[in-house]
């Protein structure tokens, strides 16, 4: 069964409280008053019957006498002869029973109440008989009516004012419920009116304090979240700590905040996550929070709180969360610094390696070239060639590392591709090898980094010479008008590349077949990286006829030649 609402129960209680005493009172009154009434009637009738008996000495005991008695006593009179023999009655229908034996001349009258009829028996002193005076039993009808009326009024009043009264009592609770609902829905401005100093007001005041505390923590939480979100590891540890201290002071209302970092060795010996110290009322107190990443203690936050500020477990928890977040941010910043440092170190190292290798190569090459022109010794040409190769390898390694780091930026220039291809072919010094160059894109220039394109073309031609067998190397420069793009295809007539290896040739340190050739395995990988870094592409394409061989296609942004 459903429980009645509080208001319903209150109403029921009010009605019960109003009616039960009235009914009880009425019943009690009824009993008391009724009792008193009937005992009085009995006394009166007894006195009357004694008087009547005294008067009847010597009088005839007949109906006329009975009637006369009835008139004077305002009751009914019944006459009995000796031995209880019925003689006469003012109202024979009454059926007054024969007098009890106790009624003898000289005895007190006897009063008998039977079936709403009170009868007093008195013996006639002469012993002529017994007179009985009867009256209907006295009741209190007016009293009953009055009592009933009172009851009715009570019920009506209870029904009429009960709901209003119970509403008055319940309404603060209803308001409280509504306010709590708003609070739960997130409206932290919901407050209860506090009037007077009753229990409800005290409850309201206590609720308002709770709401205030909630709102304050919420504000703290928002500030803390904002502070945490504003912590960027890129700013470095020092800036991070400064930001965090300011944010914590603002969010928690601290008068001073210090963040102490432990450094790589963790907390100093003896340091604990010192709990909030003893708090002396009225004095500023210290709170601490560990800066932790998992099990690691990165540092500790120590703050001073003003004495008036409430500091509860919830605040403690919030500060703890802040500490954890800050710890993570500090750790990130430290790692970020370390990574940046390593990247710079790597760049510095590569610069050093490059410098220390290229500088002697420059001298070797310069003197070998000079000597070659002076003496004509062909061995000097080999020195030049090999020093070029070595220096290309060094620069390839550097390029790979820069492609990885994404720091390469092309210097885009416009130039005609076929002369460049021709020049690179000649620089390879393999004039005896069959080579054709077809220009199908007259009227167009490539827009790309000239040095990079030279490197790519060099790698493609070098590859064709190494793996393409004796067949003709065919280079075609064509236009793909859609982009527009210049497509340079380099084709050899060697064994070709197995389909599944078409992408593998661009992987670093790949030589196909495995272990073959004397290349570094970097050429094609670097070539593709460079092509992509200047908005182009490098891929293998099917030969398109039965002759087989390998075809590389280099796509580069194109510009139409127009004067203007």
């Amino acid at each position: 069964m459903r429980r009645l609402s509080l208001q319903g129960r209150l109403l029921a209680a009010l009605i019960a409280a109003g009616i039960v005493p009235v009914v009880a009172f009425a019943a009690l009154t009824f009993l008391l008053v009724g009792g008193a009434l009937s005992s009085r009637q009995a006394d009166d009738l007894a006195a009357i019957s004694r008087l009547a008996a005294n008067q009847l000495v010597g009088a005839p005991l007949d109906a006329a006498t009975a009637l006369r008695l009835a008139e004077t006593t305002a009751g009914d009179a019944t006459l009995f002869g000796p031995g209880g023999v019925f003689l006469a009655s003012s109202d024979p229908d009454l059926g007054v029973p024969a007098p009890p034996d106790a009624v003898q001349p000289g005895s007190e009258p006897v009063v008998v109440t039977r079936a709403g009829l009170v009868t007093a028996y008195a013996a006639i002193p002469s012993g002529a008989g017994v007179v009985a005076i009867s009256q209907p039993q006295a009741t209190a009808p007016a009293l009953a009516v009055a009592l009933l009326a009172t009851l009715t009024v009570g019920v009506v009043l209870a029904l009429a004012f009960g709901p209003a009264l119970s509403r008055t009592l319940v309404s603060p609770l209803t308001r409280m419920t509504a306010t709590l609902d708003r609070l739960q829905a997130g409206d932290l401005s919901a407050r209860l009116p506090v009037t007077g100093d009753d229990e409800v007001s005290r409850l309201a005041a206590s609720h308002n304090r709770l709401a205030d505390a909630l709102a304050a923590r919420n504000r703290s939480l928002a500030l803390v979240s904002h502070a945490v979100a504003s912590l960027s590891p890129r700013d470095g540890v020092a800036a991070l700590v400064a930001t965090a201290e300011g944010a914590a002071a603002e969010a928690f209302g601290f008068t001073s905040v210090r963040v102490r970092l432990f450094g790589p060795d963790g907390p100093p010996p003896g340091a604990t996550d010192a709990d909030t110290g003893e708090r002396v009322p009225g004095e500023a107190f210290e709170v601490t929070a560990p800066l932790a990443v998992g099990e690691d203690r990165v540092g500790v936050l120590v703050a001073t709180q003003v004495p008036t500020r409430e500091w509860g477990e919830a605040d403690e928890d919030l500060l703890h969360i802040f500490g954890v977040q800050l710890g993570a941010a500090v750790r990130n910043a430290e790692l970020f610094d370390a990574v940046e440092g390593l990247a710079e170190l790597k760049a510095e190292f590569l610069r050093g390696v490059s410098h220390n290798l290229q500088t002697p190569l420059t001298s070797i090459r310069a003197f070998a070239t000079q000597l070659a022109t002076e003496t004509g010794d062909r061995r000097l040409g080999i020195i030049v060639e090999q020093s070029d190769r070595l220096s290309r390898l060094v620069s390839q390694l550097l390029t790979v590392s820069k492609l990885e780091a994404g720091t390469l930026r092309p210097e885009v220039d416009v130039f005609a591709l076929p002369p460049l291809v021709q020049r690179v072919w000649e620089s390879l010094g393999r004039g005896e090898h069959a080579f054709t160059l077809r220009d199908e894109a007259t009227g167009w220039l490539a827009a790309a980094d000239r040095d990079w394109v030279e490197q790519i073309v060099w790698a493609l031609l070098d590859n064709a010479l190494k793996y393409g067998g004796e067949g003709t190397i065919e280079v075609t420069v064509a236009l793909d008008p859609a982009a527009p793009t210049l497509v340079t295809t380099v084709r050899d007539h060697g064994p070709g590349i197995a389909h599944e290896d078409h992408e593998r040739v661009f992987e670093r340190f790949t030589r196909l077949p495995a272990g073959s050739g004397d290349g570094s395995g970097l050429g094609l990988s670097v070539a593709r990286g460079l092509a992509e870094a200047m908005g182009g592409r490098l891929e293998t394409v099917p030969p398109g006829d039965e002759d087989g061989g390998t075809v590389f296609a280099l796509r580069l942004p194109a510009e139409r030649i127009e004067e203007g």
Binding site: A347, R351, G352, S354, H355, L357, Q358, T359, P360, L361, T362, S363, R365, A366, F367, T369, Q370, S387, D388, S391, S395, L398, T399, K402, T407, L408, R409, E411, V412, D413, V414, F415, A416, P419, R423, L445, A447, R450, E559, R560, I561, E562, E563, G564
Partner: protein, 235 residues
């Protein structure tokens, strides 16, 4: 150009290269002094001021970049930096700010010679070393290879900035296409006039507000190009 032979101060810690380059440069008609590191170079500069400084990037005691900064702080001496670092390196940008040009090791001597000539010629052009304002919203900052158009910074390629140097040196006058080719592509064999045409078109996309109706970079058909400065009054 100065009436005497161009004087070059060559600074490199590699003695072999120093000797070789000095010989080559002397045979090409330059007056050459050498130094083994930055500190020595500063000492040389106390006694004689050259027309051009060629300096190696990595040297003991005082490296090329620091030396170039110190020299530039004293006077506008043109500088070519020799380095094993190329354009993709993080130091390249810092280098561009102080050096007129740089050349990557290992280099071929003819290329270095071409660059020396180009830098000396550019100095002869007497372009203001700083920024050149063409209208309230357009500033050329050729030293740093960039321009700023209506607050937006646009990078220039080496060729573009060379062409703009040549045009800016003759502001408001027509520069023949052949001159531009010689300036822009001095180390390229047989540059074609089409290079200049296409590069000018690309340049207009960078510095004109409406590239189809150029106001700064004008074509004089069949002759060459002209760079215009728009004063506030003329528009």
């Amino acid at each position: 150009m100065a009436p005497h032979e161009p004087r070059i101060l060559l600074v490199d810690d590699d003695a072999n290269l120093l000797v070789f380059l000095a010989e080559q440069l002397k045979s090409d008609g330059f007056e050459v002094t050498t130094a083994r590191d930055g500190v020595e170079a500063l000492k040389r500069l106390e006694s004689a001021w050259p027309d051009l400084l060629i300096v190696d990037m990595m040297m003991p005691r005082l490296d090329g970049l620091s030396l170039a900064r110190q020299v530039k702080a004293r006077a506008d001496l043109p500088i070519i930096v020799l380095s094993a670092v190329d354009a993709g390196d993080s130091k390249a940008e810092a280098l561009e700010e102080v050096a007129e040009d740089y050349i990557t090791k290992p280099f071929h001597y003819p290329e270095l010679r071409a660059r020396i000539h180009r830098v000396l010629r550019r100095v002869g052009d007497r372009v203001p070393a700083g920024r050149l304002q063409l209208d309230p919203g357009l500033v050329l900052d050729l030293q740093r290879r960039r321009l700023v158009l209506d607050g937006v910074e646009v990078r220039l390629t080496p060729v573009e900035s060379r062409l703009l140097y040549a045009l800016a040196a003759n502001l408001g006058q027509v520069v023949p296409t052949e001159t531009l080719l010689a300036r822009g592509w001095s180390e390229t064999e047989s540059p074609d006039p089409s290079y200049a045409w296409v590069t000018m078109r690309r340049l207009r996309r960078k510095l004109e507000r409406d590239p189809d109706h150029p106001v700064f970079l004008e074509t004089v058909r069949g002759v060459g190009y002209r760079l215009n400065r728009l004063t506030a009054s003329s528009g």
